[in-house]
């Protein structure tokens, strides 16, 4: 078996370290300070970072490698969530059966949709997947109400059967767990003015993220990955050389659908509720945005894109006028109101505007996404170092 290259190992190691210390890294500001607003190191958001990271990695296997732009990936996410919640309702609160079923169901569902949609390519493929996703959304929202509980969302209740679980005598809703470890368990470490929250659910998500990342690396470097890239480059030529590309694209589609199913299952495992709006086309669009923002076809890009969007959604949307007034209270009244009025458009419920502007800037100036930005900085750094080395060499040459 071919092992992965050193460079890839380094990337994987880097991601593992970041994931391990995320609760520390994401909480740079002391809890009581005004900057704590920008802290992202609380369990719910960290779980979202990891889960959407998995989703974006999976999407990138399809879009980044084969170039097929699916606008319906949220449907697989939703299907995964519903299957997981049903497992919690019927079997037990252990997340393992829930995750297994969500991956299987999402895989089968993507096999069906992929089989039909992959008969076309380009924009027609995108439209087909979009149509399927909207159809699933509409079904979940109204027709399949007995299965999905419609707009209210599927939730666990006290009188679900849960045949494998011990009888519930506490009178409280049971919580999701992994062999007794409760997903919501959080260990808070107080270190001076800082509070760091280490949450079991987050670390489970992070382990799955690393696993997903590793598999994605293997796919990227495999002959199968090479074939997918060939499809992106020139599918017609492949067809002329006598290769049937359909099985390859279908495999990529199903794999990325299973990734989405896993992400959906994890979402339900962290918070046992599945809502239909998870499947709406805006949710599918968000996945596309994440991937493009981070860098299509790169290994690390989609994860960064996912983190970027989720950060804006959860942090910027909570900066309301009161917070803004608090920040600028040192200014004279008139000026304060003007500044708050301007910033008001970009924070709170205006966070979409900020995100939109950032997205435009990145697409215009960094067509390769955040990853291109990083590699440019890296190159610039190298050039500078080379220059420095030269000058230091010059200066250190002994005077004649």
């Amino acid at each position: 078996m071919k092992t992965i290259s050193k460079a890839d190992m380094r990337t994987l190691f880097f991601v593992a370290i970041i994931a391990l210390f995320a609760p520390l890294i994401l909480n740079p500001f002391p809890t009581e300070s005004g900057w704590a607003q920008f802290n992202a190191g609380y369990p719910d958001l960290m779980q979202r970072f990891a889960i959407y990271g998995i989703l974006a990695i999976g999407f990138n296997i399809l879009f980044g490698l084969t170039g097929y732009l699916s606008f319906g990936h949220a449907a697989f996410l939703g299907v995964g969530s519903y299957s997981a919640v049903w497992m919690f309702k019927l079997l037990s609160m252990n997340i393992i059966p829930a995750l297994i079923l969500s991956v299987i169901v999402a895989g089968l569902f993507s096999l069906l949709i992929g089989f039909i949609s992959l008969r076309r390519s380009g924009i027609y493929f995108s439209i087909l997947t979009l149509a399927f996703a909207q159809m699933s959304f509409a079904l979940a929202y109204s027709v399949l109400t007995p299965l999905t509980n419609g707009e209210t969302g599927l939730q666990i209740t006290l009188n679900d059967p849960r045949i494998f679980a011990a009888e519930n005598i506490s009178g409280n809703l049971p919580v999701t767990s992994l062999f007794g470890m409760e997903m919501r368990d959080t260990w808070t470490m107080q270190l001076g003015a800082w509070d760091f929250q280490f949450n079991i659910g987050y670390y489970i998500c992070a382990i799955f993220l690393l696993l997903a990342f590793y598999i994605s690396i293997r796919i990227f470097r495999s002959p199968f990955g090479m074939m997918l890239r060939a499809i992106k480059t020139n599918q017609t030529r492949l067809n002329y050389t006598g290769i049937n590309t359909r099985p390859y694209t279908l495999a990529a589609f199903v794999i990325s659908g299973m990734y989405a199913g896993l992400a959906g299952g994890l979402m339900a495992s962290m918070d046992p509720l599945a809502g239909a709006e998870r499947m709406q086309w805006t949710a599918s669009g968000e996945i596309v945005l994440m991937t493009i923002l981070g860098g299509t076809g790169t290994l690390l890009g989609p994860v960064m894109g996912a983190g970027f969007i989720k950060y804006f959604e959860n942090i910027f949307s909570k900066i309301n006028d009161t917070v803004l007034h608090g920040w600028f209270s040192w200014m004279p009244d008139g000026l304060e109101n003007v500044i708050v009025w301007i910033l008001h458009l970009f924070t709170g419920k205006g966070w979409h505007l900020t995100l939109g502007i950032m997205f435009m800037m990145i697409v215009i100036f960094l067509p390769g996404g955040l990853m291109e930005g990083i590699s440019r900085i890296g190159k610039w750094w190298k050039r500078r170092n080379v220059k420095n080395d030269n000058t230091s060499h010059n200066s250190s040459t002994p005077a004649q």
Binding site: K6, R10, N39, Y42, P43, D44, L45, R48, A138, Y141, S142, G150, E151, T152, G153, Q155, T157, L158, N159, S170, G171, N172, L173, V175, R184, T186, T188, M189, Q190, L191, Q197, D271, L273, G275, E277, R278, N314, S317, K318, N320, T322, G348, K349
Partner: protein, 445 residues
């Protein structure tokens, strides 16, 4: 990768080890309940829709919350704190702690609402979550609060399920519900429109719409009406013309709009534009009924609401002391009268604060005990009781009508009848509310 040396490894190991050992002696002792306030302040989470079809209601709820916080902290004129029958609130915060708040946008989506509520609980240490302008959202957030071990004071949620099938021990609702609307409205409709009527229902396709439609259909059928059809409309619909057109040929002579907020404004406007109200079907005038009314909606729909019947939890034109005090302080601060959404959220905040004061703790179990079976007055609805069995408030219900000659843009509804509490009350195990369990209060942590 060749930069790893043994010395480096030992050094790193020692640092990491020391770092891991540190917290064992600086971790604080475990609190008795989730987010027990430690400093001189306590944080409440206001989770309201700031976008989507219920955004108007959300904005008004937020105004009321801010007003309530101001009054609790001793600012303003004290509003309903002066007329409230319980006198434990003194304007000194809650239990001597200054009240602070965080806000979030539910987007009228269960997912987004839960994420927002979760971040309030996990990041901002909110000890109570309140809000919601949609029953679907309210039920989702109520479930979350039950799991997390904080109190949920429901805002505007009118579905029977909130305190029926989906009731939770940590959740409390002051607002009335679909059953109460139907029980109050049916006799009035019978008196105005007669017994022999054919009703066509357009219903918002989620828990609130379903339960309200069920309640209205049951109550009117008991009066001799016939339900011709019930069509479910997605919550995100903005153009209702395709739903209204079939009503014309259905043989119905009454249209019941089980819609709220932006939905109701659009569907009513569309029905009026189709000329439904000028039609004569089966020898009777065609009539439209909007079971759940609010001033914000009536104002949005403008001319179209004139003469249309509905029910409401509270209206600013009420002349009891509590309502007058609230309208006065709200009007002074914002320049216009409050809506029923603002009223219920303001009252809920005060009720929560009062329950904390009376029980002497923020512990959800203590608060819940103080609220269960609590009887109070002076909050604008007359004598009111929080029933212990399902955490639902029981009080009088207002039947209202769109005013024919409004004197101002706020004076759009007139109160036709105040239906007494006895007429809208139901047993806790009524079939429309059955199927759930309250469970036990959960203090979390």
């Amino acid at each position: 990768m060749s930069k790893f040396t043994r010395r480096g490894l030992i050094k790193t190991g020692a640092t990491v080890g020391a770092g891991l050992a540190m917290p064992t002696f600086i971790t604080s002792p475990l609190a008795a309940y989730t987010n027990a306030p430690t400093g001189g302040s306590v944080t409440l989470g206001f989770n309201v829709p700031q976008s989507g079809p219920y955004a108007d209601e959300g904005a008004d709820e937020l105004r009321a919350y801010k007003l309530a916080v101001e009054h609790l902290n001793g600012g303003g004129d004290g509003g309903m704190m002066n007329t409230f029958s319980s006198k434990s609130l003194t304007g000194n915060g809650i239990l001597g702690k200054k009240v602070e708040y965080v806000t979030g946008d539910t987007q009228t989506k269960s997912d987004a609402a839960r994420a927002s509520a979760k971040s309030m609980i996990e990041k901002d240490n909110a000890v109570m979550i309140t809000g919601g302008s949609s029953s679907g959202v309210a039920i989702a957030v109520q479930g979350l609060c039950q799991e997390a071990g904080v109190i949920f004071m429901a805002g505007l949620t009118h579905s029977n399920d909130t305190t029926g099938k989906d009731k939770k021990a940590n959740g409390f609702r002051h607002f009335f519900n679909g059953y109460m609307s139907a029980a109050a409205l049916a006799p009035v409709l019978e008196a105005r429109y007669g017994k022999d009527r054919n009703a066509y229902h357009l219903t918002a396709d989620y828990t609130w719409g379903w339960t309200q439609q069920e309640s209205i259909a049951a109550a009117t059928e008991a009066k001799g009406w016939n339900t011709v059809n019930n069509v479910l409309t997605p919550l995100a619909t903005t153009d209702f013309s395709s739903y209204v057109a079939p009503v014309l040929n259905s043989g119905a002579d009454i249209l019941v709009l089980n819609h709220y907020g932006g939905n109701m404004i659009n569907s009513l406007t569309s029905a009026v534009q189709f000329g439904l109200r000028d039609k004569i079907v089966n020898g009777k005038n065609f009539e439209i009924v909007v079971p759940l009314y609010s001033r914000l909606m009536a104002r949005g729909a403008g001319e179209n609401v004139k003469g249309i019947f509905g029910s409401t939890n509270w209206h600013w034109s009420l002349s009891d002391e509590g309502s007058k005090a609230f309208v006065k302080s709200f009007g002074t601060k914002y320049g216009f009268p409050p809506s029923q959404a603002a009223h219920t959220t303001y009252v809920q905040t005060l009720l929560y604060a009062d329950a904390c004061e009376r029980s002497g703790t923020f512990n959800p179990c203590g608060v819940s005990e103080a609220l269960e079976g609590f009887k109070f007055d002076g909050m604008g609805n007359g004598p009111t009781e929080y029933r212990a069995e399902d955490h639902q408030c029981f009080k009088d219900v207002l039947v209202v009508k769109g005013k024919e000659n409004p004197t101002s843009e706020f004076d759009v509804l007139e109160v036709v009848e105040i239906t007494p509490r006895g007429q809208v009350e139901y047993p806790a195990d009524h079939p429309m509310f059955a199927g759930g369990a309250l469970g036990k209060c959960n203090p979390g942590a």
